[in-house]
Amino acid sequence: MPESVPVKLAHALRDRFAQLAVCLAAALVCAVFVWIVSDLVRGGWAHLSWDFLMDSPRNAGRAGGIGPILVSTVLILLIALMTALPLGWVTAALLAEYVSASSGFGCAVRYSLQVLAGVPSIVFGLFGNAFFSIYLDMGFSILSGGLTLACMLLPILVSTAESGLRAVPDAYRLSAAALGLSRATTLFRLLLPAAAPALAAGLLLGIGRAMAETAALLFTSGYVDRMPGSLLDSGRSLAIHIFDLSMNVSGGDAPAHASTLVLIVALLLINMAAMRLTAGWQRRKIVSE
């Protein structure tokens, strides 16, 4: 058939073109990633020093360091994790081991988590301001910021822990039932230890999410950049510090760059540790089966 040659040629050309387009898109994304990271590293490296990490900010952050801000960030994180971890893991155990997905209660909890995962962080900020800061009278404080963050972290903690528990082979549960272990013993001695790497990975992802958050903390934990004296003091998190320096403080670019670098490095380390945990865990599971 003479007409099939040009058709074939056109197909081959189209194939080549598609391949080129897909590879170009991937290259573009890589290039932008490298651009962003190199920009941030170049901008922040010169200003970064041990003193910068330890000192208090002076002159609205233009001089000095980020010591108290790191302390506030860690305190907010601790509050958020101490509230969200028990609640999240309890819910994950409930969803994975106790209620079936089709029951009304299971559906309600699941839908609720799905909505929570989608709620914009600024809306969490509004809620935290209205509920924790004003209704519960905590004011602008590390406590109300941490509790607001805890609400945000729940979906990610639950989903990672639940998938970890579901990945534990059913043989474990069968053996435990055959040995006559109670459900509580099975859960605490067998299933939770077996799912520990997934729980740890979820914990790390949660820390990363919490450190990255800005909008939810603007009206809950506040702007004050002094060293916090108690949990009821306002404390500025690292992300808010970056925001404030770059938007509201003229001449704050150098410390903002350095703070950004600190935040990015911390987040990269946390994310890579989480990836390694899940990857190693999957590999071990595949080998052991």
Binding site: D39, L40, V90, G125, L126, A130, A177, T214, L218, I242
Partner: protein, 297 residues
């Protein structure tokens, strides 16, 4: 779930174990109830705080007032609504082809090693905080756009930054959807002698269509609700944008900018915009979930 209906533990301590089991079950149920109640609590508080304005300002005024000027009791949210939709829509238009192409690259065009590295890069991109994207946009992107067409802080900058932020969502969900395409479809296509693009265009993408759509909905929700990055690069002028180079203000940015000093009706109006955002995102998440459950819709 595999459990004997009645506990078959040793006869010496069955009562104790049963008690503990029951206690734990109630504890777990309590935790689950708190989580389920949280969404209702959030909606309740948003509604309670918006109520003062909803009660004595007719709903039409939020779209028809002459301007947004809370000091003179003018509450026109329409320019912010259009800003939000332009920014999110533009970002979706750019990010969808890039994200789907990234997923295709991982799934069909690269060696496993390259695919692993590229996937990790996308995951790291997803982990960069919005304030960092905003800061980078402010220090790098805005000056660049300013050279092109002043004033750099514009709808275009917002669209580009949002594109970067939602691209990982689209790429990762699209990749998951492509992985879920049954292998026999692809082998069948290969056996028919289809070219690689023919296979992708004719078999893989149609089979993964609903998964792709669900991912795009999730990304749309993220784009609509994104606050800090957009706030830092779009210039925040309240008016309808005529071109890509005009500054805009989004609903979320408006909340972040004015919440600090808002009182009474002004504060309630901000809560109304928050409630609007939440309902939009809930609808999008609901649609994404529905698509996920009905893959052949």
């Amino acid at each position: 779930m595999i459990w004997s209906k009645h506990n078959i533990s040793s006869p010496s301590a069955p009562a104790d174990a049963m008690q503990v089991d029951k206690l734990i079950l109630w504890l777990l149920r309590g935790g689950g109830s708190i989580v389920a109640a949280l969404v209702l609590l959030i909606l309740l508080f948003l509604a309670v705080e918006s109520w003062p304005a909803l009660r004595h300002i007719p709903a039409g005024r939020f779209l028809n007032d002459p301007s947004w000027n809370p000091a003179e009791r003018m509450y026109n949210l329409a320019p912010m609504l259009s800003g939000t939709l332009y920014a999110a829509g533009g970002a979706l238009l750019v990010a969808t082809p890039l994200g789907v192409a990234s997923a295709l690259f991982i799934a069909y065009y690269s060696s496993p090693r390259t695919a692993g590295i590229y996937r990790r890069l996308i995951e790291l991109l997803a982990g960069i905080p919005s304030v960092v994207y905003g800061f980078w946009g402010l220090t790098t992107l805005v000056p660049l756009i300013n050279q092109l067409h002043p004033p750099g802080a514009s709808l275009l900058a917002g669209i580009l930054i949002l594109t970067l932020m939602i691209l990982p969502t689209i790429a990762l969900t699209a990749h998951a959807a492509l992985l879920a395409v049954p292998g026999e479809y692809l082998r069948g296509a290969a056996a028919l002698g289809m070219s690689r693009w023919g296979m992708i265009h004719g078999v893989a993408l149609p089979a993964a269509k609903t998964g792709l759509m669900a991912g795009i909905m999730l990304a749309a929700g993220r784009a609509i609700g994104e606050t800090m990055a957009v706030l830092m690069v779009t210039g925040n002028v309240v008016r309808h944008a005529d071109s890509l180079f005009d500054p805009v203000r989004t609903l979320a940015a408006n909340i972040a900018l004015e919440m600090a000093y808002a009182m009474d009706d002004h504060r309630a109006a901000l809560f109304i915009s928050g409630l609007t955002l939440m309902l939009m995102v809930m609808a999008l998440a609901g649609m994404a979930g529905w698509l996920g459950r009905n893959p052949h819709a």
